[in-house]
């Protein structure tokens, strides 16, 4: 039986020294060692793919530092271009929001807080942080999700916080799983970090899950807020196989959760 030589690159334009972003077509470095003509045709193929499927181009998202040691110790901060779910008590969530405002001020970026329970209280926030915050007060979680959708499509803000912790649980549960997947798809196209604060873990498609746990007494009311925050414990679960904003759902190597517990006890 004689082998038939098939030229897989026949018909492709030649001489297109285009480098496609990672994630498109063949893995980077694949073309090393190939004949020059083949490499050029490979570049042409990559260019065709990029033109035909521009959405497939994924940019590395980067990291937004939080200043919260348990979270920053795992990946350096919040993943950009990814949906992070933060669940836990409502007090811990409020504390996290205030801490993120400080982070936004420190990183000199802009943020939005979509408040589904209309519970945000700016008391104690630094004025410099508030000038960088867009607040959207919503009637219910469904409206809040629509507002997040608009903000992600806008793409101007580095951080979008969706606070569902003060909303009734039954209303949060009405948010269909497809909505979360849609938000994840949207945020992938941006360099924003999206954080959904929920009373219980319920966000499908989240790239990272953070569970906060803290129990306070009234003695906390006499302590610096910064100290209270830094002593809060957290468990971080980055999705296994999801490199920072670069891999889609259902990664071939099997997506799952990687448990990394970072806790600082008081």
């Amino acid at each position: 039986m004689s082998a038939v030589a098939i030229d897989p690159w026949a018909g492709l334009p030649e001489g297109l020294p285009i480098e496609l972003p990672k994630g498109l077509g063949l893995p980077a470095g694949f073309s090393k060692g190939l004949p020059e003509a083949t490499q050029e045709r490979l570049s042409g193929l990559r260019r065709l793919l990029a033109e035909k499927y521009p959405a497939a181009e994924r940019k590395p998202g980067g990291i937004l530092p939080t200043g919260f040691a348990p979270v920053d110790a795992v990946e350096g901060g919040l993943r950009r271009a990814a949906l992070t779910e933060l669940s836990g008590g409502s007090g811990a969530g409020a504390l996290f929001i205030h801490a993120m405002l400080r982070a936004v001020s420190r990183e000199k970026c802009l943020a939005a807080l979509v408040d589904a329970g209309r519970s945000f209280e700016p008391e104690g926030c630094a004025p410099s942080a508030l000038t960088r915050l867009l607040v959207v007060l919503c009637e219910d979680p469904a409206q809040a999700v629509k507002a997040v959708d608009l903000l992600l499509r806008d793409g101007n803000l580095s951080l979008v916080l969706l606070d569902l912790q003060a909303a009734p649980l039954r209303e949060i549960r009405r948010i269909h799983a497809s909505v979360w997947h849609r938000l994840q798809r949207l945020v992938e196209q941006t360099s924003s970090a999206l954080v959904a604060l929920t009373p219980q873990p319920m966000v499908e498609g989240a790239r990272v899950r953070i569970a906060l746990h803290a129990q306070w007494t009234l003695a906390a009311q006499r302590r610096w807020r910064q100290d209270i925050f830094s002593e809060m414990s957290a468990r971080v679960f980055p999705r296994h196989g999801a490199a920072l904003g670069s891999e889609p759902d259902g990664a071939p190597d099997g997506a799952g959760w990687q448990n990394r517990e970072e806790s600082v006890s008081a």
């Binding site: 669940s87 008590g89 409502s90 007090g91 811990a92 409020a94 929001i97 205030h98 400080r102 420190r106 000199k108 802009l110 329970g117 519970s119 945000f120 209280e121 700016p122 008391e123 630094a126 410099s128 867009l134 607040v135 959207v136 007060l137 919503c138 409206q143 629509k146 507002a147 903000l151 793409g155 101007n156 580095s158 003060a166 799983a177 009373p199 219980q200 873990p201 499908e204 498609g205 899950r209 746990h213 803290a214 129990q215 306070w216 009234l218 906390a220 009311q221 006499r222 302590r223 610096w224 807020r225 209270i228 468990r235 999705r239 296994h240 759902d249 997506a255 799952g256 959760w257 448990n259």
Partner: protein
């Protein structure tokens, strides 16, 4: 040299600027005094069908049943005149608004001596604004005007004598009596007139004839009455029928913006603010102003701002007219700083804010406004000014104390049981149980110098179940203002639930 820019059939052109479908059809313009004046202007197609200016509408319709009769629109004429003057200003600062649809430009200081090319650029610039112009260039203003009247579409008078010699006398619009006498004498062209001795002509026919002779000889010099066109960028349209859908309005707005963007570009400006006015069938008007976050002349950006507003607009009456006014501004030059992250696209952000306001209400979206009061519970939002953040304020130490509050809006009324001024228990929709510990009262008051004085006493309380709340009393009324932390069960349950919860597309995390 002088240039005369003439828009023939000016009223008709102004009325047809946004009705291209009628440009090749028989159209006539009339106004409210039509009974006295007859039709004002008619299109070429109408003229070919025998319709002439000055005849009445019934006569015109008898000659041309397909004739479209349009009412004169003064707002559109003003827009066209403004556009004409703006274009003229782009060629020279010394311009005269000689008449409607006619302006004279002094080119004495012009460096460009290629007059035909200059006239061509004027014609092209006006054509881009949907105005058909005739441009004449001559050594004085009157000669330039005569050249413009005979231009197709431009004419440069290099040799005044030769140009004037063959012009008919009526081109100078002499008094009818004088014209009749000259015709009786057999004088029909300007060349024939200037061959007569000026002095004797004046002796026989008076000073009017002498002035006519000077004009015929191309010897008149008059100073221009210079004007500076107002920077008013307005386009308007009056619908023939009442409009009850948004599509025709959007269609026209797009064309308005095309024109206004060109006009802005001509004067080196961009749009800083837009005002949209819809005249309504009940005689009222809907007016809305839009500040352009990052002033621009981009038609797409400006159109999106208007579109966002109109798609959520509901009016009780149909629209009968439309006006768009743009306030010009200087283009911003923004350079992104290395370590700053200002808005990448302020206009897009402005549009998003508009959509958010339509979704949740204008007062529910914005940046937190710093208020000059200590009254608790007041949260007022104002339009954010992110695009103005150029340098961050120095980051002060975080001096906040205690847990942040999650405020109940509105506050929840409560019944509190006291024993010897000690808080013992609470019953409310949000918090219920025995009060284990309380901090307070923290008293605050203000506004005593005004009618809306306020005073409150606040406690931070811890219940037996672990919940932390803020309690307030105003008079004899107790309210739960918010929570610092809900009972422990909720938070612990959240962490415990996290581990076994499977995801649809992933494995369970290891315990």
């Amino acid at each position: 040299m002088f240039a005369a820019v003439l828009l023939p059939n000016f009223r008709l052109q102004a009325a047809l600027r946004f009705r291209e479908e009628l440009r090749e059809k028989p159209v006539a313009i009339s106004d409210e005094d039509e009974a006295k004046t007859g039709l004002l202007e008619v299109s070429e197609a109408a003229e070919r069908m025998g319709v002439r200016p000055g005849i009445s509408s019934p006569q015109a319709l008898a000659r041309c049943p397909q004739l479209t009769l349009l009412a004169r629109s003064r707002p559109q004429e003003q827009s066209a005149q403004a556009a004409l003057l703006e274009i003229a200003t782009a060629f020279s600062p010394a311009i005269e608004a000689t008449a409607d649809g006619y302006c004279t430009v002094s080119l004495q200081a012009s460096r460009d001596q290629d007059w035909p090319a200059l006239a061509g650029r004027m014609v092209e610039a006006l054509a881009a604004l949907r105005l058909s112009a005739q441009v004449g260039i001559g050594p004085n203003a009157d000669l330039a005007f005569l050249a413009a009247r005979n231009a197709r579409p431009m004419l440069v008078v290099q040799s005044p004598g030769a140009f004037l010699a063959n012009l008919a006398i009526h081109e100078l619009d002499p008094p009818p009596e004088l014209l009749a006498v000259l015709r009786d004498w057999g004088i029909h062209h300007l060349g024939q007139l200037t061959s007569l001795p000026r002095g004797e002509l004046m002796d026989r026919l008076g000073p009017e004839a002498a002035r006519l002779w000077e004009r015929a000889a191309g010897q008149t010099e008059r100073p221009l009455r210079l004007v500076r066109p107002a920077e008013e960028f307005v386009e308007a349209y009056e619908f023939e029928h009442e409009v009850d859908t948004v599509e025709p309005v959007l269609f026209l707005l797009r064309r308005f913006l095309d024109q206004l963007a060109l006009r802005l570009e001509n004067v080196g400006r961009v749009a800083g603010r837009m005002t949209l006015t819809l005249a309504l069938a009940n005689g009222g008007a809907h007016e809305r102003g839009f500040t352009v976050p990052s002033p621009t002349a981009s038609v797409d950006v400006l159109f999106r701002i208007l579109h966002t507003h109109l798609e959520g607009l509901r009016l009780e009456h149909c629209a009968t007219g439309l006006q768009l006014r743009i306030e010009p501004a200087l283009a911003e030059r923004q350079q992104f700083q290395l370590f700053e992250s200002p808005l990448r696209d302020p206009n897009r952000f402005g549009e998003t804010l508009g959509r958010l306001a339509a979704l949740v209400g204008a007062e529910q979206v914005g940046a937190v406004e710093a208020l000059d009061t200590h009254q608790p519970g007041i949260l007022r939002l104002q339009p954010p000014r992110f695009h103005e953040i150029t340098r961050a304020a120095p980051l002060a130490d975080d001096l906040a104390v205690g847990l942040p509050l999650r405020r109940y809006r509105p506050a929840v009324s409560a019944q509190v049981h006291l024993v010897q001024h000690r808080l013992i228990s609470i019953v409310s929709e949000k918090a219920r149980g025995t009060i284990r510990e309380a901090l307070g009262p923290f008293r605050a008051s203000g506004g005593w110098w005004e009618s809306d004085r306020w005073a409150t006493e606040e406690w931070d309380i811890a219940l037996e179940n672990g919940g932390l709340y803020r309690l307030a009393r105003a008079g004899n009324e107790w309210r739960v203002e918010g929570s610092y932390n809900l009972p422990a069960a909720a938070g612990r349950e959240a962490c415990q639930n996290l581990i076994p919860l499977p995801l649809a597309d992933s494995k369970s995390p290891p315990g």
